[in-house]
Symmetry: C2
Subunit: 339 residues, 2 copies
């Protein structure tokens, strides 16, 4: 197949940042995706309905300026120890889609994360009642990086049991164990998979040279883990859908003594997915992964319109404005988004 037309896809996990970066990040995402779930962990985090509304307006303004006025940001708030059921309900009433939980200390700007998940049970009960989705950075803090996701799965099981109607998304899967637990849990539990976790293992971060542009959370792991993720993504199960976790950092925060985690994949994610799905004989199931499963889980109609991919080589730019280095910078990709 040399050409592929998909219902316009969604990105159910993206970091657009704010201030000067916003125009560039919105442009990259909105040129391909019809909707995106916007992560709230800004330097000044999105905590309430009014924070989310202000951020939504900023994003929509930038999307309009970039010529993508049809782009629809799906907003989130960040859960803190101090989040109340009323904050969750007000967010939902104002059109916020999900609330994101970062355990304290697990990733960028998560120093203010949640220290005791059980104390948020009243908030989860309210979210269950009003339909606000719970998005989880599924890593347990304070233990070895290779074990954090697997240990967190006990918490996931507990939440699914305690709140049987709460829709829960385990974000950016990185282990075979997580795939299997998500498969076994009820249909209220789903998961996102990034493009880069379908490609990288720990070898691509520390196996040869040290590659800061491959450094992300959760850390990519073993080949068997990557295999399990590829099977989950390409099998068209409604439980797994695309969330890029595209997370740009200026190059100075990557090439330094203490580099930040995050892969800026938005400019290349869809072509990379096409390449992976093609290699696994699953191009016909790419639309389910990027355009259908996530929308269905979130209770949204599929997007109107489409995107077209052609099999035509192109070279990924070495960097984008604001000194943002994309995933696969300088490499040649097989598929290209056109139109």
């Amino acid at each position: 197949m040399q050409e592929l037309t998909l219902i316009r896809p969604d990105d159910f996990h993206v970091h657009l940042r704010d201030r000067d970066d916003l125009l560039h990040t919105v442009r990259q995402t909105a040129s391909v995706f019809g909707r995106a779930l916007i992560m709230p962990n800004l330097r000044r985090p999105v905590l309430t309905a009014s924070d989310a509304e202000r951020y939504r307006q900023d994003i929509e303004r930038e999307a309009g300026e970039a010529g993508h006025g049809g782009f629809r940001p799906l907003m989130t708030i960040q859960l803190l120890d101090a989040t109340t059921p009323a904050i969750a309900r007000q967010a939902r009433e104002a059109g916020v889609t999900a609330a994101k939980l970062y355990p304290a200390g697990v990733t960028t700007n998560s120093h203010n994360g949640v220290t005791d998940i059980r104390k948020l049970y009243p908030v989860f009960a309210e979210m269950e009642a009003c339909g606000l989705v719970l998005c989880l950075h599924g890593e347990a803090p304070g233990i070895h990086c290779l074990d954090r996701e697997v240990i967190f799965l006990d918490t996931l099981r507990e939440l699914a049991r305690a709140f049987p109607k709460l829709r829960i998304v385990l974000e950016h899967l990185s282990t075979a164990e997580a795939v299997h637990v998500v498969e076994e849990l009820p249909d209220t539990v789903a998961a996102t998979i990034t493009a880069h976790h379908l490609i990288l293992t720990l070898d691509d971060v520390v196996g040869d040279l040290l590659r800061p542009h491959h450094f992300c959370k959760p850390i990519p792991k073993r080949y068997a883990d990557r295999d399990a993720l590829r099977i989950a993504a390409t099998q068209a199960s409604p439980k797994f859908f695309f969330g890029s976790d595209s997370a740009p950092h200026p190059v100075g925060k990557k090439h330094c003594a203490s580099g930040c985690a995050g892969v800026f994949s938005a400019p290349v994610a869809l072509p990379l997915l096409a390449e992976i799905f093609e290699r696994h004989g699953a191009l016909g199931r790419l639309e389910a992964f990027v355009s259908l499963n996530g929308a269905a889980f979130y209770g949204l109609p599929a997007n109107e319109g489409s995107v077209r991919l052609v099999k035509r080589e192109w070279r990924v730019p070495e960097s984008f404005p604001s000194d943002l280095v994309p995933f696969k910078a300088g490499e040649t990709l097989a598929w290209r988004v056109v139109g």
Copy 2:
């Protein structure tokens, strides 16, 4: 104990580099260690007796200029596919101490490493006969970074069986499995342990922020591995001794998109070892690890003279000349080498 006097220690694994870096690296090593086993993997590698003799003269000249004329470099040659038994014998006759085997592609400047270890069996037979020690970078190439050392242990077992009188050193242990295999093999097989592998786990490289100055080969692994290394080092077994693998890179080769592996530990290694041994109630066994076991394995007398450590805080410089950033840069250490 507030003060500690040790027989002057040896470093049985160090990278001194060449050209402009040599004065600085020699100064750091020779100010503390009486002897050091000098790794041969320069940009233009040390392959023969005459290469080693030239490099020895360079090192001794720099040591003299730095005021450490008593420092004695123990020289190595690098084994290539093309190394012959005659090359090994000539090296031994010229006073070379060991030959270093890098499997192709496992670390810095190892693109010219050995592709088929069995083809070197005639060389190993000659080394066994003439007393040249075999030093192994014990990682199997082409497999996942967490498994490389463990998979290589089969090769180690095979070499120990095939050449029962060949002295073999497995360098820079990083796994509990390697500790246990070295313990079980005959007394002709020993191992070096670095200071940084006694301190770091994978969490210190990729667990929080990305730390290029902790990036090394073999990659530090789990807490259980580090525990096994600490037990091996502090138990005064003659099979385990100190080799720093101190390996400086200019900061531009660390803070970049493809960072080099290596920890520049020479300026801090002995104080760090004192801290670790003290914490494990083993200060009395530090001398065996750094001054006695390695010399005995290599058939050398203990050094004359001593070094003195006092428990007095000092701050590690942020960098050294030639833009070399040391391990623990900017941190405060408890023990200090004096005099």
